[in-house]
Symmetry: D3
Subunit: 246 residues, 6 copies
């Protein structure tokens, strides 16, 4: 089984971190193909970054034909719906994956993400997925995404503080870490707080394996129907010409 | 990995059918332990049956110590919350599993279940899981559960009619079959209607494998906190004395 | 008129306290028949206790034929739906009763219950009853149910603190006491805080009288349809054999 | 116990019909005081009539001091919130009462009312009461309110048709008749369709008796706080001068 | 274009303040006709005042024939639905207007209003308009409406404190001032807090201009259908006789 | 006042039609600057087209500095949130505008759009805007967007059929036409069906004029905070290089 993990931003170190985490959780026989988007923002923090990241991400998917499922490795689930139109192979966003796993382990959970500017976009996703009641709060640690890539950052401590408040004030029974860059912190924080602290990348890889084993595909009826061939072709042409220039 | 598949009703042929389906989807290395509840109703159709099935199901879980995850093989997700208090290993109901898989493949889905009397219980679950918007309709085929066990039943045809209406009238993009006894129909119906038609048993087994690989456990904080030891002991005593008489 | 008040746990002192309260509010001519469940947990605190309490409670209802309405004297409304399948006489849970009375007296109310582990189960009920907006908070006083049965407990004080916070922080206009064991505190707390502080037992008895006077019955169409006779008989048999052993 | 039944429209024959129904369901010892509003519309069909009916209704309540509870005998629950500010005695609207009784007897119910123009106002009430999920449909029979007062009307038949559709198409398990003028039809329709068919007047009287026996009052904190004395006095003055002219 | 701005309370100084604000925002060519209700409460603070204010407000609309749109200059949107039955010209409440403008400028907003007793009425409106998620909090400054009319009040400071808390604690991205009497504070507070602080009067006037330019009218189908002529006539008669006495 | 009307697809004839409609409704002194996106899909029908249209649309906004407000002339409100990060001038989508105007004229409305594949994206927007209750149905006429550009199409008739069903079956009191290409049909259909039939382009232009006159800006706090300068610069560079190639 081959799972395509697409990082929709252009920071390769984040792709590597996600890839490493993905490989640790993947079953024997599952191959992880990690791809960094060829153009787009260096990190995704809010609506603007999201919007500019989607075409590059879709091109990355369209450029790889030989895969069984796709993980979108951005916690905003950037372009998830569009990606489901491009391929009938299962596509899962890491935000979505974290929420779905949390809701099988806890009555209520909180999200701890990076910047306040990202919160409304996450809340829109939660509402759309029907998670607006189970997710009791979305907290921001005010750590920019790229700072998570630096050694010596106090990210762990700041995130820990938010987790503690989520448990005490919001009665959160589980935590979803709200950024692909936090993938390496989940295990330690789980141990520290004695509740499930989930990272979306591993959750998404594992759910993808499930869907592939179930041999199910994204529905082609309704909202995820494939675009007409001429539109796909036109867009592929743009992709090519753009990749040449960029 | 060992997955305990508990049939909360006492009809062994349904357990066998579920077990067969579970084994077909299970990964190499996953052992399926299928258990029929020792006492309770012969089928679960609505609130009354649900209520009487739960203690037997909990005893079945408590009687088996050596497992990594539990599937509750009844579409009403009978006793799901109580089971999550009894063990910290992941527990998934087959209704829940079907809904969660459907919501990763389609914008909207419909449920096709057995009797009208079961519909309100399913709708309560959907509301609780936050699926009340994504699940566009719960349709009943008016086939009693046990009729699904008979050769020569016209179940396939009746269910097919409801699926057709769900697609045309409700714009369903996927279908979740609403009874463990329909597990053998999913593949044929998927092919016939060219949209995902999902069976909860296989979905639940596969999601359990995911959770086990992720090494996550049910939260012990809040609603799923384990009951005090003396209560567990008292209940185990009753279980024993009851099993002697029944 | 005869109202059956079933305590679904096995602690007789709680049944007596509920019975006393029920008789104080009952109209002349209303007979209160208070019954302690023959088997099940000693107190109901969360999902696990709920699940084990239901069969005993249903048997208690089935064992008494001569009644006009049933009160389920547990704030989790344990087995309410199942009980409505067993008899067409009105059945009301004390949680439900407290919420419904509060919503006729106040724009918003808070619940003050015993342990945090009970909160998610209550929140699920509130959602199901459509009370998730009118109930502004469910607060736990962290007093175990059975401590309410002890002289010299500081329950009154702890509950009072939560009520004060509910008024100040949540703008609660009324309070529902979230445990049958708090029935004797309602009047004093109402006086102390000058807002309605409601106890579910008295509310449920009074609402039952209403329904009986209206000569209405639980609907037999759909979710509360009576189970087939053979299922009822099978369960009655188990009940008998179990009562012999237990 | 004295229950004030206020008809907020000026049609005395409707008051009499409501009074008759109220007395039939009232307990021994309960006195029904039925009052027709002194000025306002002859029937209440939609927002405009509602708005003009409220001051007259409030004056009727303020003019009667000696009562224990108030029933607002209009299915729109006209002026319910304002009435709860005017007195601390319990006040119940007949729409509210019908919905609350239905929700204790059935998983889902439908409303059958008079004209389409009344439907949005009822739907707003249902949403506010948290009944928007349990009430599966509001159907209009297109019978004007005052036609219900005429002999030889085919109201019974038209309403019956809507009930039948509600059962078959909407899976309604109970029906609430959506007009005070239908009070005399409930019993026959219940028998005909074998599900609870409820009339709001009797439900409201009976619920009022419950609240009075519980010795509870409307909360004086927050939204139902009494208006300052000078405002009450000013309004009383207007009421007097108006009654002189009208 | 002529916009009728109706103050539903009887305090002329508030009408003048609203009129002034309306004229400042109105386009060239738009005439503002400001009207004080002839009878009703001196200020509108909660359900009781609302109810008594509506007939006077409707009469004010019916008395003026030559207008293109109506603004109801009370933040409770007093009688909005009834007013839409009386005329097919667009009618907008200032609460509604503030909410709609805020929701085009911000992901989430807070309301800062006068007294706690007004909060539930506002929350009901927000729910009805579908704003219950975008409006993150309704805060009361505990300044009575008429105090806003006094020189030397500390209203500005108290309101500022609530705005600060709304930004910090509730993550409000915009503020809607919850009283017509605050119309002169919006600009200063916007500058002070560097987020949109909106006043409903100006928002409503401007939205009315939009609707008039679009040449749209209130729907005459369903809930806003005009009342039958005889009802309108009857009410007009009462209005006349009442105006004579008052 | 200058309003930038951006057509996010690349079909110039649609831009012209939108521009014409915009100019007809614009006030004297309002200049309409209509822009066709430089790259992206020829029409926007569902998630995939939306995703590819956003970068071109953002570039169109960034390329024009001298404007007071922006209209996104695609009924999916493509990239609305991202656009609000790029400029603090008000930005309104034509879907959003149609819904907001409809909700000031009617209790409930229906949307009639082009293809079924677009429906889920519209339903997500409606949910996000809090319109999921007021919008009673989203109906598709199964006319592709570009067919609306052809003479002799039977679009008018097909759309009329859906409107008729929306009125009769769904009790819609107003209609929002769900495609920028239907802008020229609104007036005729309004007259034909005697209820408001709204076109989003004119609604958006008119609402933009309102916001500009109110001198309000998009909030810079939270979700619409401007992206850091270096991200804006990076994206502008890509835009340039891309425009050269395309």
């Amino acid at each position: 089984m081959r799972i395509l993990v697409v990082n929709p931003n252009t920071t390769a170190s984040m792709t590597e971190k996600a890839c490493l985490a993905a490989r640790q959780v993947a079953s024997e026989g599952t191959e992880i193909i990690a791809v960094t988007s060829a153009h787009g923002p260096v990190s995704i923090e809010g609506y603007y970054d999201e919007a500019l990241a989607v075409p590059g991400m879709l091109q990355a998917i369209q450029a790889h034909e030989n895969f069984d499922a796709v993980v979108i490795a951005c916690f905003d689930d950037t372009g998830l719906d569009a990606a489901r139109c491009v391929t009938d192979k299962p596509v899962i966003g890491i935000g979505e994956a974290g929420y779905r796993v949390a809701s099988m382990l806890a009555n209520k959970f909180s999200v701890v993400t990076t910047l306040a500017r990202s919160v409304p976009a996450l809340e829109h996703n939660l509402l759309r997925y029907g998670m607006e009641r189970q997710c009791i709060s979305v907290r921001s640690s005010e750590i920019p995404v790229l700072e998570l890539e630096c050694d010596g950052s106090d990210a762990m401590q700041k995130i820990g503080q938010e987790i503690e408040q989520a448990i005490v004030e919001d009665r959160a029974e589980a935590i979803v870490l709200g950024c692909a860059g936090m993938v390496d912190l989940a295990e330690k924080l789980s141990a520290q707080f004695a509740i499930p602290v989930l990272d979306g990348v591993t959750c998404a890889v594992s759910l993808c394996e499930s869907l592939v084993r179930l041999r199910v595909k994204t529905s082609r009826q309704g909202g995820y129907a494939p675009p007409p061939t001429e539109k796909m072709a036109a867009s592929a042409f743009h992709a090519t010409s753009r990749q040449t220039t960029d």
